[in-house]
Amino acid sequence: MQNRPAIVAVGRTKFGEHYGKEPEKLIEEAWLKASNEADIERKDLEACYLSDYFLPITNKLGLEEGFLSELTELHVPMEVTRSFSAALLTACHAIQAGRYNVMLVGGLEKMTDRWDKIRDDLMLLEDPWSYYAGCTPEANHELMLRAYIRKYGITGENLEKLNVALAQVAVKSHSNATKNEYAQYQRKITVEHVLNARKEARKPLGLYDFAPISDGASALVLTSEELAKKLTDKPVYVLGCSSATDYLDFPAREDLTHFIASKIAMKNALKMTGMSPLNIQLIELYDQSTVMEMVSLEDLGYCNEGNAWKTIYGSCQDYKGYYDLAGKKLFVNLNGGLKADGNPLGATGGAQIFEIFKQLRGEAGERQVTSDEELKYGCTLELEGFGTKSYVSILERE
């Protein structure tokens, strides 16, 4: 990427249930953290891109930009997208085009206020025809798993291993989240917890296979390469970012076992960087469910199709903090993933970037990982809907 957009500071709130906090308090908190870190003033901002999936619906807020203007007392260009990665992508384009030099990218969501209606909202927005037919946000993940099992003919002992592997995904995420002060669930769970919840629900996936609903916000300061070097010693560059789309209607998609949008987004992002997946050892996947994490490992090219569960199973028998890809370490969802860190839709992608940023700069504290090779690159995958949109961002530290 020419004129690499650079992230100079990140900030976020704890994810979880913020009953007492208004949405604007959450974004304020995340923004303050990021701006303090970069020593940026509001007046320095040339544009703000904010992401938020639900507020226009839940709060009937038609023009969120105005709300943001009130909050920041700014009159600069502002746009609202539905995912953090979408905001980041648009901001990157603006920086690359030389239009702006300093931008705020933020994301927020307040889901728990609407706990009793949120599943209807999510489902209707995600895939209306499926909603009309009786689908739930969880059912599509389960159908994807059923389709996967049938397509790859996984039976008997292998099927048992796959089920355990998916449980291990959740166990791993919860374990990672114990070291994340911002995570919604900072407690460990066991494979038995996951398996028992499925047994109780009498379906392929149970309570512990799914990410929760959350409140939270995240923010970052994005600048041009030139300015970044003045603001920090350790800028993190957005080396490649790309997005792709797919049908709203999950049953109508050609492949029910993978997210074609993720495959395309990753391919294009890699093309921008000239790298192969294995150059990247740090990834934050969009694990709305354990199945999504498994399938995404294949979509992004880390495992062959139909095989990711073997990698997970093999790595988690004696989990050392990474998935073992034939001797190569792959660190996945170090912040606990959506599963344990939380999933406030509009802010989730920001937390993924936050994690990669901190890890690449060696500032992840207790969670900091090291590798034999230098940790230079990280990647995030964020989805909108059930794979209707997919965003891949590849980051590089100075």
């Binding site: 059912a139 059923r146 999950f250 049953p251 029910l256």
Partner: protein, 502 residues
């Protein structure tokens, strides 16, 4: 659904399961499309409509939903999955209906996946009492269970008759029954009501008749349990079954609902027959449907005695002068202002006049209609092969049949109240269907309906040779529905819950 236009668009596509096929590359889509994604601009004008309404699909994959979204909570636990049509060229989401997943049921998804399914026209989900009732055909049942898959093949008519008559018919009852003593009664599933029964019955009549639905110029739906006080069932039937010529999204058909307690449908037989017989009507076929989710107050409450007899179902008849299976030889109707049974506007359940419903009501009118018609046509009891009458309970039809002089072999074949209960507007038509299912050519059928309020219509029908030709087209016969191993029996509490619906 808060917006009626949105509801209208979703229903328009979802009720009939409309899709498109690209005539260039063959790609198929659920929902109507003007062009194909593969072929782009050159496919404009080359997209063909695809209709999945009479098709069968395959349940590809499924899961259990045990925490539905809010609008589906009344359905409890259900199976939900992806259904493919045309060897996977079209895939749609779908809920398995008519199936209550019990708390202790051992679930094996692979035993359900891969099986053939047929679409059912049902209520979509729960809404507020004042809202438009959403419907959809993205509900499915297994093709090897209660409802078999039936192809709809339009047949060219081969013979014209002098007198109009019945060209085809169909009876739709639910898979669920309540059994108390010797009496079995059909019970709707939660997503069924008078509207869904009317559509399903009409669909069966089209299948049996082989009549091109675009030639049906009038549809009458008789019901006393229309969930709407204002909004016809007939318009839904016309749209979903594509009655009359379709122009854009409007059907060239006259549709009207009728109400006269249990004779709301049978009363219109003569109107339908007259209409197709009128040379300048331009109407080749007319359809009459009687459908009810027969209401009754709970036992112990005023009017609760009815709760022992009420059933659920619909029956549909197509009248015309081509390929007739039973010609109408004549009719007689009588009416008096007799308040033996009524339901005030806004009240959920009807009231009745107790003993007053017998002699001065049911018997008086049925007796008069039957006798007058026989007199008029100069018929004797021995000239009649089958006698059909309204069946509010088991005793009334037997008593009047005997009084008129009919023998068991003449009236028992039509007696189905002990299998389905009193299906109100659909009741005597169900009896007629039971007879048409077994009648030989050149047999005479006398049918007397009864509607409280009160009146009776008597018709004399004579079957033709074509009754045999069309018989194999209908798999969902009365016998199929009464002797079906997939019938599920429910207890009283569940029966009340199911009748209230979503």
């Amino acid at each position: 659904m808060s917006s009626e236009p949105i509801e209208r668009r979703v229903s328009y596509l979802g009720d009939r399961l409309k899709g498109s096929r690209c005539q260039i590359c063959g790609k198929e889509y659920f929902e109507l499309r003007d062009y194909c994604g593969n072929c782009g601009r050159k496919s404009f004008g080359k997209m063909q409509d695809v209709d999945l309404f009479y098709d069968k699909g395959r349940l590809e994959i499924c899961t259990l939903v045990n925490e539905p979204t809010n609008k589906f909570t009344k359905l409890g636990n259900y199976f939900y999955g992806i259904i493919s049509f045309h060897n996977g060229r079209i895939r749609v989401p779908g809920r398995l209906t008519d199936r209550m997943v019990k708390c202790d049921e051992v679930i094996d998804f692979s035993a359900l996946e891969g099986r053939e399914v047929v679409p059912r026209f049902r209520r979509r989900y729960s809404v507020n009492k004042s809202d438009v009732i959403p419907t959809i055909s993205l509900a499915f049942t297994f093709a090897d269970e209660y409802y078999p898959h039936q192809e709809y093949t339009i047949a060219d008519s081969s013979k014209e008759y002098d007198a109009p008559g019945i060209v085809g018919y169909g009876v739709y009852t639910s898979r669920f029954r309540i059994k108390e003593g010797n009496l079995e009664r059909s019970v709707p599933f939660l997503d069924e009501d008078a509207i869904t029964a009317a559509v399903e019955a009409g669909k069966l009549a089209l299948i049996h008749s082989g009549v091109d639905s675009s030639l049906v110029g009038k549809i009458y739906v008789g019901s006393e349990s229309n969930p709407y006080a204002v909004k016809p069932i007939a318009s839904k039937v016309a749209q979903v079954l594509k009655l009359g010529e379709e122009d854009e999204d409007v059907q060239g058909v006259d549709a009207i609902d009728t109400e006269f307690a249990c004779k709301a449908a049978s009363s219109m037989f003569k109107d339908a027959a007259s209409l197709v017989n009128y040379p300048k009507s331009g109407i080749k076929y007319a359809m009459v449907i009687g459908a009810d989710n027969s209401q009754a107050a709970p036992r112990g409450c005023p009017g609760g005695e009815l709760d022992l007899f009420v059933g659920y179902g619909g029956s549909a008849f197509i009248f015309g002068k081509s390929d007739v299976i039973a010609e109408i030889e004549g009719w007689y109707s009588c009416t008096s202002d007799t308040p033996d049974f009524w339901r005030r506007d806004g009240e959920p359940f009807p009231m009745h006049g107790g003993r007053f419903t017998g002699d001065p009501a049911y018997f008086k009118h049925v007796r008069k209609a039957a006798k007058k018609l026989m007199e008029r046509l100069n018929m004797q009891i021995c000239d009649i092969d089958y006698f059909v009458t309204h069946q509010p309970n088991v005793q009334f039809p037997v008593k009047i049949a005997k009084e008129l002089g009919f023998k068991e072999e003449q009236y028992l074949p039509s007696l189905k109240v002990n299998k389905f209960g009193n299906t109100y507007s659909g009741c005597s038509p169900v009896g007629l269907s039971a007879v048409l299912d077994i009648a030989k050519p050149e047999e005479r059928i006398l049918i007397t309906s009864y509607g409280s309020g009160a009146g009776s219509d008597a018709y004399l029908l004579v079957t033709t040779n074509q009754i045999l030709d069309k018989r194999q087209r209908q798999k969902l016969t009365i016998k199929h529905q009464t002797e079906n191993p997939y019938v599920e029996y429910v207890d009283y509490t569940l029966y009340r819950q199911l009748k209230l619906g979503m």
